[in-house]
């Protein structure tokens, strides 16, 4: 089944906050997780309501983001969207991890050499 994923991004990373995101990446994945289509959208202004609407309009199935308020999380979940929130790190790594089926909410994907967390989690 085709999967459409939206990642809120800021430069190279997953945007720390859903409500302040002004750029999103929409990726269509094929049945084997291959990238079929990828597009970046720059939003005219940061608005969580507009972003939710965008997610519904684009028929996105999975949202990968940083911090999100409970209200919007519940709304998207109610609309049967899967929300993987509190993801921290480069968006490319988040997408790779998602394609491999191993991305979870709260994942920290930064390289942290010397902290005892050499592997991301």
């Amino acid at each position: 089944m085709v999967d459409k994923v939206l990642i809120t991004i800021r430069e190279e990373d997953v945007a720390p906050r859903f409500d302040l995101a002004t750029e999103v990446l929409i990726v269509t994945l094929g049945t084997r997780g291959e990238v079929r289509e990828q597009k970046t959208m720059v939003l005219p202004h940061a608005s969580p309501e507009d972003l939710c609407q965008q997610i519904l309009t684009e028929e996105v199935q999975t949202v990968i983001c940083g911090g999100i308020e409970e209200e919007f999380h519940q709304y998207l979940t109610w609309k049967k969207r899967r929300v993987l929130d509190s993801v921290m790190g480069p968006w490319e790594r988040a997408l790779d991890r998602y394609r491999q089926g191993g991305l979870q909410a709260g994942a920290i994907l930064y390289e942290r050499v010397g902290t005892g967390y050499e592997t991301d989690r």
Partner: protein, 505 residues
């Protein structure tokens, strides 16, 4: 920066006079042969030598600071978090070590203007007000101060950030310091005056408190007032909704877990009880606490030691427990759904919040109070209520209590474009239903039915249910969670039915 002996010198140069030599020089002693990249690893176990007679443990020192405090490296990555900031953000400090602070704090000002960068540039403390979204997906107003820490040459080597929870100040700033009441609670009815006399006395004790009262009576406010008026006011006040999480998650959330205790336990987690050390833990909806956890809480109340999941070691936690419920716990005990021994331990001090219908004269006071508050918030110049509107508001039964009254005033202030709120500005269900004191008072679904619509003859259940949902939503000011509570339904049930009746657009 690292000497052969593993000794580092960190100089803290006053930002107001860089040329002056520092008065104190702290030496942070770390294990020998530690590479610079490993600094973050040892930071939490570092000691400070040379300041006092004996070495000071850095983690203990920062934990003693009653506001959020973070130490960042030169790349603005987290080196150290104190306990207060852990409680505020909800993130485990061990887990977020080495993560850029913007991803952990998630403040509203981070994307536009990083305070740490400004502090590094300006040689002054940078102050920002904004909000953060914590791990529990809650938006919390904060005030953040960032200071650059510099080496002897004046080059920034890290940052020290303090984070204050500003929610209480904001509420007080709205002119909510009451003339008739305690903290944010107001009232002058005999029942409330009696309660207000008791609060400061009860606050000073460490006894467990059980707060009872219908939905919307202000149990959360009372719990917070007890904390703020106590000797624990500068320590954390942590709220846990016992009904919001499944049993396994709730256990880990309350008592913490050891790394590897279960699949997904990738790091040690202290748990809310330990995070609340020195402060108060507020357990709301205590009636929904699963029975196995009731036993565990009971054990904690007996010996004040927390045993995290998968850990054989116990950790002492000095925490005051405040619990609240709108259930009849005695009845639940009889039905075998709540442990009698836990009830006895929680019931050391019992405070009951009377429903608004039993608080003679308070409705008028609350109407004026909320009118002033919302007029100021929405920048409207509304003088008051018309006689008809006031009369209607005063005879209404308020099954949703103060929360419902507040929502009605908020709605009216929003709708009203005139100097006086009239009947036409009140929610429709108030003016249509001919709301009276003898209206049904239960907080269950039946209280939301409009008696007149029932009198109009048989109607289809779907119509009644639809009407019921609309009324609940109006009463809750559009908040679905509260509307679901009023209906006695789960949130998902409400959403499913709203969709079914086309009310979800």
């Amino acid at each position: 920066m690292t000497s052969a002996l593993g000794l580092d010198r960190i100089q803290i140069i006053p930002f107001d006079n860089e040329t002056r030599p520092p008065k104190a020089r702290a030496i942070v002693r770390r294990p020998a042969r530690v590479s610079a990249r490993m600094e973050a690893t040892v930071a939490s176990s570092a000691e400070i030598h040379g300041l006092l007679k004996s070495p000071l443990d850095l983690a203990t020192l920062v934990d003693a600071v009653p506001m959020g405090l973070a130490l960042l490296d030169e790349d603005r990555r987290v080196v150290l978090f104190n306990r207060a900031l852990e409680a505020l953000t909800g993130f485990d400090r061990e887990l977020v070590r080495g993560v850029p602070c913007r991803d952990v704090l998630r403040s509203s000002f981070c994307p536009q203007s990083c305070p740490a960068l400004e502090a590094a540039r300006s040689h002054q403390a940078a102050v920002r007000k904004g909000d953060i979204i914590n791990r529990d997906r809650r938006r919390i107003p904060i005030r953040l101060t960032s200071l650059a820490l510099r080496d002897a040459a004046g080059k920034p080597v890290g940052f020290l950030e303090t984070v204050e929870d500003y929610s209480q100040r904001l509420r007080l700033g709205e002119g909510l310091e009451p003339a008739f009441g305690v903290e944010l609670m107001i009232g002058r009815s005999p029942k409330m005056e009696e309660l207000f006399r008791m609060i400061p006395v009860i606050a000073q004790t460490d006894s467990s408190v059980l707060i009872t009262g219908e939905t919307g009576t202000g149990k959360d406010l009372l719990a917070e007032a007890l904390h703020r008026l106590s000797g624990r006011a500068r320590e954390p006040f942590i709220k846990v909704n016992c009904g919001a999480l499944p049993e396994t998650l709730l256990e880990s959330e309350l008592f913490g877990h050891k790394k590897g205790a279960f699949t997904g336990a990738v790091a040690d987690k202290p748990g809310r009880l330990r995070l609340a050390h020195g402060g108060s833990l507020y357990l709301t909806e205590i009636g929904d606490l699963p029975l196995p956890l009731q036993v565990k809480l009971l054990t904690f109340l007996d010996d004040r030691v927390v045993y995290p999941l998968g850990d054989t070691r116990g950790y002492a936690a000095d925490v005051r427990i405040i619990a609240a419920t709108n259930h009849q716990l005695e009845e639940m005990v009889r039905e075998g759904r709540f442990r009698a021994d836990l009830l006895f331990r929680l019931n050391v001090v019992r405070l009951h919040l009377a429903p608004l219908r039993e608080r003679a004269g308070d409705a008028a006071l609350l109407l004026s109070h909320f009118l002033a508050r919302f007029s100021s918030r929405f920048q409207k110049k509304i003088r008051g209520f018309s006689d008809e509107a006031r009369e209607r508001l005063l005879v209404y039964a308020y099954p949703g209590n103060v929360r419902e009254l507040r929502n009605i005033v908020e709605y009216a202030v929003n709708v009203c474009q005139e100097p006086v709120i009239g009947l036409e500005h009140l929610p429709v269900y108030l003016t249509e239903a001919g709301a009276k004191k003898d209206a049904p008072l239960s907080t269950g679904s039946t209280a939301l039915l409009n008696p007149e619509s029932e009198a109009n003859g048989p109607v289809r259940w779907t119509e009644i249910e639809k009407r019921l949902i609309v009324n609940a939503l109006i009463r809750a000011g559009g908040r679905r969670k509260e509307a679901a509570d009023l209906l006695g339904w789960g949130r998902s049930t409400l959403w499913r039915k709203m969709k079914q009746y086309g009310l979800d657009s």
